[in-house]
């Protein structure tokens, strides 16, 4: 109840000419993993009086585990960028830009209700569904 599982993630990127497809694909999968975690779980909580962080460490950070990461399909929209080296464009950071929004849209598509602040945690989902 209120549980979200991302079952499939498709990422299409215009990265100019893809110089090294293997590492580029890994970059996209890493970005998707971080983005889904950002959409669903990750949030740094503080004690308001002392300013100390509460959910610290590897366990507290609530990043995705292996079991949470969906199948990520990568599609290259290749083009020739005349200003980039060998026709390449940037790839690293853009991979995370659309992922929280796409997870949020998928949730809206599934339940017809919007949660507008991240992470879209169980308490917020049960709140909009109540």
């Amino acid at each position: 109840m209120g549980h979200v599982k991302v079952t499939k993630y498709v990422a299409a990127h215009d990265s100019g000419r893809v110089v090294n497809p293997l590492t580029a694909e890994s970059q996209v999968k890493g970005g998707a993993t971080m983005g889904i975690g950002m959409a669903l779980h990750e949030e740094l909580l503080y004690d308001k009086a002392s300013g100390l962080a509460l959910n610290t460490g590897y366990y507290g950070a609530r990043i995705l585990t292996h079991k949470d990461v969906p199948d990520v399909e990568v599609i290259w929209v290749e083009s020739e960028d005349p200003y980039g080296p060998f026709g390449a464009k940037t790839l690293g950071e853009p991979t995370i830009i659309p992922s929280p929004a796409s997870v949020a849209n998928a949730i809206y598509n599934a339940i017809g209700k919007r949660v507008k602040d991240l992470p879209i945690s169980r308490d917020k989902l049960l709140g909009v569904l109540a």
Partner: protein
Amino acid sequence: MKSFANVNPRDWKDAVAKLQQPNAVAVGGGSDLLGMVKEHLVQPDTLVHLKAIRGQDQIARKANALQIGGLVTLDSLSREPGVRSSHTVLAEAAESVATPQIRNVGTLAGNVCQRPWCWYYRNGFPCFKNGGKQCFSITGENQFHAIFGGGPSFIVHPSDTAPALMALDAAFSVTGPKGSRTLPAAEFFALPRVDAARENVLAPGEVLVGVSLPLPRPGTRSTYHKVLDREAWTHAVVSAAVVLEMDQQVCKSARIVLGGVAPIPWRLPKVEALLAGKTITPELAAQAGELAVEGANPLAKNKYKVPLTKAVVRRTVLDLATRA
């Protein structure tokens, strides 16, 4: 990290004697304790390592009971075919704990006696659990805290196996400087209003040696349902250990104990009484869910646990009763 001595007693008498040294603590798997030493939450001078005691990692089936040594690892407990068939809820609970690496070293007694995972406690705030006089969660970040039995501390009991053991009517064997004693699971755990600094009644120097489970009556089936915030490796947001004694479609008796909602495993005697002697229908299961949250007293950020608990009780009871 403060340095400490490690000792490996060979029997319980020796272990109890060593535990009476100043600032000594008992270690089973050590998966949690070593982290707490590193974080300065406990600063022992001596670790009394219990794994060298012979025969304490055994599961033995006696004429009328299943005896489980406290040093049985969570992994072997979850894989033991006999436990899985006769005491399913315990095998499933053990299997749901943490990660494979932790289950390989973590022990049953260690899981039952595990300290809370409240982030104020684990970050060294001067709360009741750290020897202070307040609970920071009341006005703070309390999304994972107690909705039942809270006050003055609002931690939730972190163990998955503890609700299963209570649902199975386990007897806990304890030994210490004043000798050995056996007490029912229900008397082992203590609410914060009894002692806000601790979660059970173990006296200083006492350790949990093992548990004894009565063999199930014919027609008994059981299951553990755990709600996590991701697919693996979190403590229970809400969990339910359910044991039903069935006669065809009729539930002769039920035991239901919740995890993740209270400072101790939270038994639901009124729900058990509601189900006894009745055929479990979707309507009755829904009534059980409603009754389960009677008296719930959520904090500002954990109100969602109330509908979640309702759903977990309703679904788990119905699923178990109607399972082929």
